[in-house]
């Protein structure tokens, strides 16, 4: 990120992002309202990144380094394709972590006992 960006680590005056007032619940499960909120925020941040990449491409083209046409017609070699495919899988795994934790547990054989049981065991000095 460029050195002209002025975002301080801790702003001297903090302005809350939360309005006073009861928040509406649109879905049966209020967690879904929150999840949707997070998803839209992420979509927004992806949009910000897309704009930034677009800016970069235009500036690079202007500077004569390469053109956007070259980007569009760029053909990654076999090595690059293999690396990208592996990177994408790792990326998807990270994003979908929450979805496949259960499978991870089963696959690794590291399935824990229910937490209540363990806590009860602590209480009863079984552990």
């Amino acid at each position: 990120m460029d050195s002209n960006r002025k975002t301080p680590a801790r702003p001297p005056i903090r302005v809350s992002r939360t309005a006073k007032g009861q928040r509406p619940q649109n879905f049966q499960d209020p967690a879904l309202d929150k999840l949707l909120g997070i998803a839209v925020s992420l979509a927004g941040e992806v949009s910000v990144l897309r704009d930034r990449v677009d800016t970069l491409e235009r500036l690079i083209e202007k500077s004569g380094l390469f053109t956007r046409k070259e980007i569009e017609s760029f053909e990654p070699g076999a090595d690059a394709r293999t690396e990208r495919a592996a990177d994408r899988i790792a990326y998807i795994e990270r994003v979908l972590l929450a979805a496949h934790r259960e499978l991870d547990e089963i696959d690794s054989g590291r399935v824990a006992r229910p937490l209540d049981e363990i806590i009860a065991d602590y209480a009863n000095r079984k552990i």
Binding site: R5, K6, T7, P8, P11, P12, I13, R14, V15, S16, R17, T18, A19, K20, G21, Q22, P24, N26, F27, L32, D33, L36, G37, V40, S41, A43, G44, S47, V48, D51, R52, T55
Partner: protein
């Protein structure tokens, strides 16, 4: 990045602009591509279901609401619309918070400068009305009144950037479209009138006040509001734009002005943010402040021509901290003004149609404003 309109707005960096653009695009998308589905769901799913159990169509906006909130399509639209409203403020706050100490310093240097043409008078002892403090109106964090620092102007700057996204770009670079609409309407009805003293009630950052002041440069123009940070901002903003306006912190229900001190009292979209208790008092105060022959013109928000459209406009009452807005539907404004001491034959109500496009209207396909006129 493009230079800000005046020195009291933050300089926007690349990602600030990208965030604001995203919210605008999201809201345009919701208005044009998602919103229309609600009417289809209503016609094709809700009406047949309701008819099957009740033997008739839903008759009121509340009956429609009870059904629609169960529809997954409406739920998703509503949640996305709410989120877009939250993000509108978040995107505005980001650059403002970053530059706030500097913005406040600049504003302090500009407040009541010797070469000013307007003025600012604050009253820290003025009680804030409950309709301002119960909820932050249209979920702007902190509303019009909260101060995050001494001599704060953040609420004004947040509002100015935020309204540019609310109906994306509908209100113009200076956010004065509603003021211009009111002025044009006034000129159509009274082409020869040149008001000499104008009061704008609930002026916020003075964007509509500026339109009146520009239209009648010979007039002495006053703007009142209950929020100190928006008034500080309004003052330095209008001076920077070269428009002389006298701002003071007063409640429109009971001001300190002398009786008969204005020949034109106006408001733009103030009334729906007050209450049934306050409205007759505001109309009575407007009457008290007018000299004989003076005019009161209060312009307020669209409410929908049929129960379904009314239900859609009510969304803001349940999801956007506009708790009172739904009470404006079907309200007899003339009767409320009579309650405030006006004579029936002094009053009239008009509709004014703005030129918004579909992408700027989040809750329906027509936005006729209602104008209450009192001719003293």
């Amino acid at each position: 990045m493009a230079k800000p309109l005046h020195p009291f707005l933050p300089e926007l960096q690349h990602d600030d602009v990208a965030r604001l653009d995203f919210v605008k695009s999201l809201r345009r998308f919701l208005s044009t591509r998602v919103l229309p589905g609600n009417a289809k769901v209503y016609e094709q799913r809700v009406i047949p279901r309701f008819r099957a159990t009740h033997g008739r169509e839903p008759a009121t906006r509340d009956e429609i609401r009870a059904e629609m909130v169960r529809e997954p399509y409406y739920q998703l639209w509503s949640a996305l619309q709410r989120r877009s409203q939250e993000m509108l403020w978040e995107a505005a706050i980001e650059p403002i918070q970053r530059e706030l100490p500097e913005l406040i310093k600049k504003a302090n240097a500009a407040v009541n400068r010797p070469d000013r043409r307007g003025s600012l008078r604050l009253n820290p002892d003025l009680p804030l009305p409950a309709y301002n403090t119960e909820m932050d109106i249209h979920i702007q964090p902190g509303g019009y009144h909260h101060e995050w620092a001494n001599d704060d102007i953040a609420a004004g700057a947040i509002y100015e950037i935020g309204v540019g996204m609310y109906m994306p770009d509908a209100w113009g670079a200076e956010g004065d479209y509603l003021g211009q609409l009111a002025v044009a309407n006034f000129r159509r009805a009274w082409p020869d009138r040149k008001p000499r003293r104008i009061l704008d009630m609930g002026c916020t950052i003075g964007s509509s006040t500026t339109a009146w002041a520009r239209a009648f440069p010979e007039a002495e123009v006053h703007g009142i509001d209950v929020g100190a940070p928006v008034l500080r901002y309004a003052h330095v903003r209008s001076e920077a734009l070269g428009v002389p306006i006298h701002f003071s912190q007063q409640n429109a229900e009971a001001t300190e002005f002398e009786p008969g001190s204005f020949d034109l009292v106006v408001s733009q979209i103030l009334i729906h943010e007050t209450s049934l208790r306050a409205m007759p008092r505001i109309f009575a105060e407007s009457r008290r402040l007018l000299a004989p022959g003076g005019l009161m013109i209060h312009m307020d928000i669209p409410r929908g021509a049929n129960p379904f459209k009314q239900f859609m406009h009510d969304w803001e009452s349940y999801n956007n901290n506009e708790g009172f807005a739904r009470f404006m539907t079907g309200l007899d404004l003339e009767a409320v003004a009579v309650e405030g001491g006006w004579q029936k034959d002094e009053l009239s109500v008009e509709r004014v149609i703005p030129n918004y496009d579909k992408s700027q209207m989040a809750y329906g396909d027509e936005y006729p404003y209602t104008v209450l006129i009192g001719n003293r």
